[in-house]
Amino acid sequence: MASKISGGAVLRAAARIIVLLFFLFPIFWVFLMSFQTNQQILRIPPSIFFTPTLENYTALFSGRLQTASGSLDIAFIKNLLNSIILSSCSVLIALILGVPAAYAFARFKFRLGENIAFTLLSFRFAPPLLVLVPLVAYFQMIGLSDTYIGLIWVYQLICLPLILWIVRGYFEDISPDIEHAYRVDGHSWAKTFFKIAIPLARPGIAAAALLSFIFAWNNFVFALILASADKQPVTVGALAFVTSAGIQYGIIAAAIVLSVTPTLLLALYAQRYLVEGLSLGAVKG
């Protein structure tokens, strides 16, 4: 009996370790790489024993990289700033548009409502290039290519459907009678929305905002095609390290570590919200 239980426990622990290794190993490896020089990284066979160096990080922050073929400008800090601007503005606008829309979809059963909601969701399934190719020409025509506004607009394809669908499930879970009670007590429709519906859906809204921030942050293709060096986020900026003098693996690793850190911290900080928000919305909605 006792041996049976411990046997199961051992198996489970082993399974857990394998899963963890599988998911964490690449992150761990990148983390190690960020403290190595290119020579150390490219050594064969690879080793986890090396003398750590901060040279990659200093290069990123100082903005200059010395390579065999001369020195190279690095726009990493600028890219980081772009990422922050693009992601937060996109989420903000998606919230302003998406939360009222989610409320409308949850509360009012209008004709074609379901179709519109699904169409919005299907943007997430479409291959990004399908949308991008026509957009490039179109954006050039109306002068939106290579502007923050244009990029933020396109980023709505990522953020808006997420917010709409998660928050909608959340609104559907709130008993309409709670709003009705507020309304018979003398309040307008709009006030009910802001004072009752939004506060009660707050965990769902926070979860949706967080997720769409992370998705926007990690986006690569949209910015690659629509933005010049000036407006590029970190994901695209890392491409600059593929230089004529070779690929700067160490710097790329350091850039990845730095660019993942904000989203990772955010996710850890809001983990409770995320789990609660997502599971409530999904299970009950």
């Binding site: 709670i178 018979v184 309040h187």
Partner: protein, 378 residues
């Protein structure tokens, strides 16, 4: 304090992909000022739909609702002058019970001290003072229900709508609160519509009761009137505990006098009941098939009379419910005495004319009430 009028009110739900549901079917109803109306009916008969239309959460499919002469179908809920206690309580989770109850009054710019006093008073009336500082998710269903009721009553709105306000309470508490709520409503002359499927509650609390079934208003009358003069077979069987005995019968004549011939379950003729003056001059009654209703409370035990056999005998502490079979017809009888008889014993009963109600078989419409006929003959 205002009158409430429902004029040819209809509600048809049209759920997507399913057949339309006629939840409220041509309801007409007019309250007096300050009247307490009980809306009584089984589950799904359209009670909640009616209240929601009055409050303004559901569109009216057709018809008019007037509060104090003013048609209000197009008015926003906030401006209709209604307060509502919801079937599902609908308390606002982030607010303490005290603030839940008081927030409509604060919104009306009533001074804080006065709001506080009003909230305390209503909390005392409904026995929820101990939970005023608590939050809705942390209290029991019965407490939430009373908090929700308090939130509606505290406003003393022109029209109060209470949707099954006491369904979650234990019977003793319900009986106590019933009396207090009735006093409160009367003291402030609050026009009230309360929904219930408990006829004891409806009878105890309401000035008049509207009986609904399948969206149709069957009868709107005082509790006594519903018992004495039910408009149709549905109301007759619905009101009264235990329910009325229902027997197939036929109006005939024996030796020149009108009688009711009763039939047993197999359709064989059983005994006849003399109906004396019933249905002769003042209230004409054509010979033919009828449905006969007999109130269990009106049947009396007699030394001589119809001979029956006891099929069951239950003493309920203050009354006896007997099932007595008389010549193939089982009849429920209620008496306030304790009856020693056992199952199978013989017992004689008497069915006075005022125990009888006659209904048209096809429509169920009432043809004659024994009480009326007795009064008319006197």
């Amino acid at each position: 304090m205002a009158t409430l009028v429902l004029d040819h009110l209809n509600k048809i739900y049209k759920p997507r992909g399913r057949a339309p549901v006629k939840a409220v079917d041509d309801v007409n109803l007019a309250s007096a000022d300050g009247e307490i109306i009980g809306l009584l009916g089984s589950s799904g008969c359209g009670k909640t739909s009616t209240l929601r239309m009055i409050a303004g959460f559901e569109d009216v499919s057709s018809g008019t609702i007037r509060i104090g002469e003013q048609p209000i179908q197009q008015t926003a809920p906030a401006r209709r002058g209604v307060a509502m206690a919801f079937e599902g309580y609908a308390l606002y989770p982030p607010l303490k019970i005290e603030d839940n109850i008081g927030f409509a009054l604060l919104r009306q710019r009533m001074p804080r001290a006065e709001v506080r006093k009003r909230v305390r008073d209503i909390a005392e009336l409904l026995e929820i003072q101990p939970i005023l500082e608590r939050y809705p998710p942390t209290i029991s269903a019965g407490q939430q229900q009373r908090a929700s009721l308090a939130r509606a009553l505290v406003r003393r709105a022109p029209v109060s709508l209470l949707d099954e306000p006491m369904s979650q309470l234990e019977p003793q508490l319900r009986a106590i609160l019933r009396a207090r709520i009735k006093d409160y409503l009367a003291a402030h002359q609050m026009t009230t519509v309360f929904v219930t499927h408990d006829q004891t509650e409806a009878i105890a609390l309401a000035d008049r009761i509207a009986v609904m079934e399948k969206g149709v208003l069957q009868q709107f009358a005082s509790p006594a009137e519903l018992k004495e003069r039910p408009a149709n077979l549905f109301v007759a069987s619905f009101i009264g505990e235990p329910p009325m005995n229902v027997v197939q019968a036929e109006i005939g004549t024996t030796r020149g006098a009108r009688v009711v011939q009763l039939f047993d379950r197999a359709g064989e003729p059983s005994f006849t009941l003399p109906i004396g003056g019933l249905g002769q001059d003042q209230i004409p009654l054509a010979p033919g098939k009828v449905i006969l209703g007999i109130r269990p409370h009106r049947i009396t035990l007699a030394d001589q009379g119809l001979q029956g056999r006891i099929q069951s005998n239950q003493w309920l502490g203050d009354q006896t419910h007997l099932l007595i079979e008389v010549n193939g017809i089982p009849l429920t009888v209620v008496t306030h005495r304790r009856i020693p008889g056992r199952i199978g014993d013989n017992l004689a009963i008497e069915i006075p004319p005022r125990a009888l109600h006659l209904f048209e078989p096809a429509s169920g419409r009432a043809l004659l009430h024994g009480g009326d006929a007795v009064r008319a003959a006197a």
